[in-house]
């Protein structure tokens, strides 16, 4: 018996075949092979192999790249006004392949947002947002908004002149929103001007809050797509 078969048996006996309630039938196959095949080998319609239908997957791949490179950058980045710029400079000049990793993160951010925008166009132009898939469209548009916010918060983190003034201008724009504008600026800025608290807040929003939210939304969105299938054809 091969090693792969042994691994499969291990998980079958401990999880897939295991049911503790007599008379209750599990809704998924009771062995790992069938379960995985059901997940991996789901047939898709011919029209969905067109490159335009790969943009969502491209966006997700870019998201995974952002997480991987973001974790690596986080090993050296220090989110304080005194150390932030120095730590970015350290990544760019001292760490092995540091400029490559940061470059991947910066370009990956562009690819992530570009792919989401193009994917949104595709879904709009093929009418895939229509009933019964309105909720998937709503989730997708929230991911678009969150990803733009993710880009905005990440832009401040190098803490150089460009970052500082871009954030100042960006927050001033947010301040012009009627009624809630001032509250939004106060919450994001954490003080009268862009300062140490802004850096802390943007950092924790950038590395914890938004990634977790996007991951949660994407998980629900993918389950909905699996259940409803891919709509339409060009």
């Amino acid at each position: 018996m091969g090693i792969i078969q042994k691994v499969i048996d291990f998980f079958d006996e401990r999880y897939f075949k295991y049911v503790d309630t007599p008379g209750w039938k599990p809704t998924v196959p009771n062995n790992m092979k069938d379960f995985l095949e059901g997940v991996m080998k789901k047939p898709i319609p011919d029209y969905a192999t067109h490159p335009m239908y790969c943009l969502g997957g491209l966006a997700f791949a870019a998201f995974l790249l952002q997480i991987a490179t973001g974790i690596l950058l986080g090993m050296y980045y220090k989110p304080t006004p005194e150390a932030a710029y120095e730590s970015v400079k350290f990544i760019m000049t001292q760490v092995y392949m540091g400029s490559l990793i940061r470059g991947l993160h910066a370009w990956g951010a562009n690819i992530f947002i570009a792919a989401i925008v193009l994917h949104t166009f595709r879904v709009f132009l093929t009418g895939s947002y229509k009933k019964p898939r309105e909720l998937t469209w709503v989730l997708g548009v929230s991911v678009l908004g969150l990803s733009l916010f993710e880009g905005f918060t990440g832009y401040l983190l190098p803490w150089d002149q460009l970052a500082y003034w871009a954030t100042t201008v960006g927050l001033q724009i947010a301040g012009t929103v009627p009624v809630v504008g001032d509250i939004i600026v106060q919450l994001l800025q954490g003080g009268p001007t862009v300062g140490p608290n802004t850096l802390s807040r943007f950092y924790i929003i950038h590395v914890v809050l938004l990634p977790l939210t996007i991951m949660g939304i994407l998980a629900i969105k993918f389950l909905m797509i699996r259940r409803q299938g891919i709509s339409g054809g060009l």
Partner: protein
């Protein structure tokens, strides 16, 4: 054996390509996360090895300066004196148990007069930095518990709680510069409890 179909060929090519890419990134990532000895030291710390402590023209009789040095484990503070009057260096072969009176040793510094001496500023009592320097009596006092060292006589302990003298640092004249190159007596430093506990040796 499975028949090699066009589909299988493409599938294996794709899997191998992705696998090759992922495997290739492993050593890069490992090296990315590993600290490198080439990195600049944090503020106040210096790299292990001999270090320049002063220019010869900057030291004159009566001067006292401090410097950072690292002989392999941690960064420590050293003191450099150009004393006046009669000077004896630290003798070798002592231990913490009999290291209070340490004068009468030979000058082992290379190319420098007897009057230029250097000692490690890490009190053998509890590891404070003794740096209150009295040039009149050539006494160095530790601010924590008033331990007093006679710098002109091998840094012997003349009063206070320190169990032994602070160890001498071996100097060397390199061109017109003074360099700290090593402990004068490494075996003595190894017997000092504070130095062992701080990880200095």
């Amino acid at each position: 054996m499975k028949k090699t179909t066009r589909r299988n060929l493409v599938k294996y090519a794709a899997v191998c390509g992705i696998g090759f890419t992922v495997l290739n990134s492993v050593p890069v990532v490992l090296r990315y996360v590993s600290p490198s000895p080439d990195w600049p030291m944090p503020k106040g710390q210096v790299k292990p090895g001999p270090i320049k402590v002063a220019d010869l023209k900057d030291v004159s009789p009566g001067s006292f300066t401090m410097f950072n040095f690292n002989f392999g484990k941690i960064t420590l503070v050293g003191g450099l004196w150009y004393l006046e009057g009669k000077v004896t260096h630290q003798r070798k072969g002592a231990t913490q148990a009999d290291g209070k009176d340490m004068g009468g040793g030979a000058n082992e510094n290379i190319g420098l007069p007897d009057e230029i001496v250097s000692y490690c500023l890490l009190c053998t009592h509890l590891g404070c930095i003794p740096k209150n320097w009295d040039p009149e009596q050539s006494i160095l006092t530790c601010p924590c518990h008033n331990g007093m060292y006679d710098i002109s006589n091998g840094a012997s302990v003349i009063s206070g709680p320190p169990p032994a003298a602070i160890p001498e640092i071996k100097l060397e004249k390199r061109g017109e510069e003074i360099w700290a190159v090593d402990w004068k007596d490494l075996n003595y430093v190894k017997t000092l409890d504070v130095y062992k506990n701080k990880g200095a040796v």
